[in-house]
Amino acid sequence: MYSEKVMDHFMNPRNVGEIESAEAVGEVGNAKCGDIMKMYLQIDENDVITDVKFKTFGCGSAIATSSMATEMIKGKTVKEALKLSNKAVAEALDGLPPVKMHCSVLAEQAVKAAIFNYAKERDLYYEELEGFDPTEDGHDHGHEEE
């Protein structure tokens, strides 16, 4: 049911771990629904994400999307990272089953949540975060397919 890329990122996830002195930390999801993603970003004075780590409780695609999202934002500026869409994450993994698309939403939200906290602490403004609510985590679980 999963693509080879999803399985690769699930079995050999990139950037697993924590960054103790991370500038940005975000956590989305909840145990009730069966997935939680936590992301740590190291951001330098030029707003470049120099390192990313994640920890995820969840299914195979939750782990794979977290891994792929970290790869896609590493080395990018914060503004560029905010442009990461769930669709781009899913496409980079050669697609996800419809019921698992919410995992890619969660990965996008995890990145945004980390940057949201970073911006809040530093009183920074990113227009990409307009209307972003870190408590929303895209948990429709593909109910529209039913």
């Binding site: 995820t56 299914c59 939750a62």
Partner: protein
């Protein structure tokens, strides 16, 4: 990675060679319709009758109390709806449990929409019903009690005989879904005192798409499948003769071999359970420690999610199942795990390994070797584990 070990016997079983051999002639040489008068038909009828006798014998039932269906699901649907419709002049109340298979639960829910009233009994932390709860749930208008013999997810065996006795004292019809128990436990319909009992062939090394419903003589039920005069005019449709013949053979083999089968499975089950609980911390056994199906192991691993566990196991050739929501595409984890009081996280982290006739001690050892590092790898990735580790150190 060529090794492939099957640990999902509760989902379905591989058909035994002897069963297949018994079925083969009925596909082409003995293909006649049992309803036909000619010799071809008579041969088909012989296969049908013989299978019915074999299955009746395993249940200590009479042959004319066994009715073939298309599987356990149809048997459950028929038993519940059949009794409900045929007895609605007496009342409209049905009692069941919260941990039934969906074939029972959804049938009961459908009846609720038609005006029937259903009580869903709670279970304790082991998945066991309380007989006093059952007594207290009975009302003047109760017409049917349906309680599964043994649970498909956690393996817990209910006090079916005691529950059936309570029903009988009150003159209420009693049905049990014995799909998981059949072929694994001794089931004597007269000793148990049940009025209806559902069974299925593919759980006992027989073919898929065939089951049976035991209906005690004199039990009022309504016919659901209309058409020809098959099954004593109670279930229409040309009989699935090859399937039924295979079912008969599988049933016969299961009960010839029951004691050895159980002894072996219980040993392997208990070894697997004990070793996994000892080797891996933050785990719990789901279901009753002893009153459980011989081949059922169901363990929750905290801080990790079941689907990722199943995928990882599949990569090393171990085929199991989970009560996690992510394996079913629904939002909530298994209703059975929720009913025994697990929190969502623990329910999401459940793993069911079910053993069967082809499971070996080497297979068990292989799981005991492979599972701990897999659980550890997933925990190292989990933000929930991080919190616990932080708290401990």
């Amino acid at each position: 990675m060529s090794k492939q070990i099957y640990f999902d016997y509760a989902a379905t079983t591989p058909m035994k060679k002897e069963v297949l051999e018994e079925m083969m002639p009925y596909f082409n040489t003995e293909f006649g319709n049992p309803s036909s008068v000619h010799g071809f038909g008579r041969h088909g009828k012989t296969g049908l009758d013989s299978a019915r006798d074999k299955i009746a014998k395993t249940l200590n039932a009479k042959s004319d109390e066994i009715f073939f269906t298309a599987g356990g699901t149809e048997s459950d649907n028929w038993a519940i709806k059949g009794v409900a419709y045929a007895n609605k002049n007496k009342g409209n109340h049905i009692i069941t449990t919260k941990i039934e298979h969906h074939a029972v639960l959804y049938t009961c829910q459908a009846l609720e929409k038609e005006g029937f009233e259903v009580t869903y009994l709670d279970v304790d932390e082991y998945g066991m019903i309380n007989l006093d709860d059952l007594k207290n749930a009975i009302k003047d208008n109760t017409i049917l009690i349906t309680i599964m013999y043994a649970n498909n997810e956690i393996g817990t065996i209910q006090p079916t005989k005691e529950a059936a006795t309570i029903a009988k004292e009150k003159g209420i019809i009693f049905h049990t879904d014995a799909v998981q128990a059949y072929g694994n436990l001794t089931l004597d319909v007269n000793d148990l005192g049940v009025d209806l009992l559902s069974i299925s062939a593919h759980k006992i090394y027989g073919p898929k798409g065939v089951g049976a419903l035991y209906i005690r003589k004199g039990t009022k039920t309504k016919q659901l499948i209309l058409g020809g005069a098959q099954e004593k005019r109670r279930r229409a449709g040309t009989e699935n003769i090859p399937g039924i013949v295979g079912f008969g053979k599988a049933a016969e083999m299961a009960y010839e071999n029951l004691e050895a089968h159980n002894k072996k499975l219980i040993n392997l089950r208990d070894k697997l359970t004990k070793e996994l609980l000892e080797k891996i911390s933050y785990t719990r056994l789901n279901g009753h420690p002893t009153k459980r199906l011989p081949g059922n192991v169901n363990i929750s691993f905290n801080f990790i999610e079941g689907e990722s566990l199943l995928l990882s196991l599949d990569m090393v050739g171990i085929a199991g199942s989970s009560g996690s929501a992510c394996t079913s595409g629904s939002l909530d984890p298994s209703h059975v795990l929720m009913a025994i009081g697990l929190d969502h996280e623990t329910a999401h982290g459940s793993l069911r390994l079910t053993l069967g006739d082809f499971t070996t001690e080497e297979d068990i050892d292989y799981v005991i070797e492979k599972l701990p590092p897999i659980v550890d790898r997933l925990r190292q990735m989990s933000p929930l584990y991080e919190k616990v580790k932080g708290g401990n150190k």
